[in-house]
Symmetry: C2
Subunit: 169 residues, 2 copies
DNA sequence: GTTTTAAGTCAGCCTTGTTGACATTCCAAC
DNA sequence: GTTGGAATGTCAACAAGGCTGACTTAAAAC
């Protein structure tokens, strides 16, 4: 199959598409994702929170006032699953849920000061690792990293990803 | 913190290390990993297997005859957790567990023809996405992708990653 | 006034991770 | 030879975090 891919392009330098290269890419994703989540996981362990809480805090921080439904689409989980996480965060005073003004069915989500503090603690740890990796690899490598990751996303997820960036500019 | 990083290098072009760039990297990892696992997950769903079974099949395929303990180190889970997965795979005739010759305490793991077939089906799907992403991004981007991921791994995981590559050459 | 939508809730299930306790088997050192 | 430790397996219990399905409430939309 890899050979077929190479042949199809008539001898171009497509050796980076061999099955062995792809396998290495797959394994790199596996091991790197472990590192990617290791630091926040360590912090959360013992706080009776998990990765799911971290994700919720991250995206509420990035898009304050987002609705539950919007968060659902970003995270790609069921509302029951998200609700369990969100309820504990609201009960513990890390997230505030305000009834919408225009549409009173909607709840808009915000981080409280305490929520902001935890979010910062978690993302500081995660960013520190990311910064070290970026610095070590250099700007061109980072550009390539981003390019490959974007190409790997499902189209829906890619749209979500771009929308988040737009809302911050 | 990002500003400090930039200043520390005395005005060099370190804008790729700003908090905003790092945040985008974090989100890219999140969304891309979803895509990365989506295809195998779809296949496994309905086979009464999960991602854990896929991981076991992958690494047994890559290192036939590996011991349970070795697999434990690669996967980073407890033996009880792995054992549950391994037991179902052995019961279903996808994995064979042979008592070691030199050390009869050890069990060496191999894929049966049926196991090989499922592994191929899963990794074909995953490689197809990876190949599309690699081709779309180009060889330089792929090199950068790999460089950043390697820098993101924990040192232990990075060692495991390199060892797997050595054993295949 | 009916239907649709956003959100929340309850109950139950599955996968996959965890810990702790314990048995077995075998190698290796003494 | 006996003992200590290592590798494996097994049982039980538990938790996080996914899922589905059914149902309520409130508000918006038609």
């Amino acid at each position: 199959m890899a050979e077929a891919g190479v042949q199809a392009q008539g001898g171009e330098a497509l050796l980076y598409l061999t099955d062995e290269q792809l396998r290495q890419g797959i394994e790199a994703m596996f091991f790197a994702y472990r590192g990617f989540t290791a630091d926040p996981d360590r912090i959360l362990q013992g706080l009776s929170y998990g990765r799911a809480h971290h994700r919720a805090l991250h995206f509420i921080h990035c898009a304050p006032g987002t609705t539950v439904n919007n968060l659902l689409n970003i995270l790609g989980v069921t509302k029951q699953s998200l609700n369990r996480v969100l309820r504990t965060l609201v009960e513990d005073g890390l997230v505030e849920s305000r009834v919408g003004r225009a549409d009173k069915r909607e709840r808009h989500l915000f981080l409280t000061p305490a929520g902001d503090q935890l979010e910062r603690q978690l993302s500081d740890a995660q960013r520190a690792r990311m910064r070290a990796a970026f610095r070590q690899a250099g700007p061109e490598a980072v550009a390539g990293f981003r390019r490959v990751l974007e190409a790997m996303m499902d189209p829906d997820m890619h749209r979500q990803y771009l929308r988040l960036r737009e809302n911050r500019t």
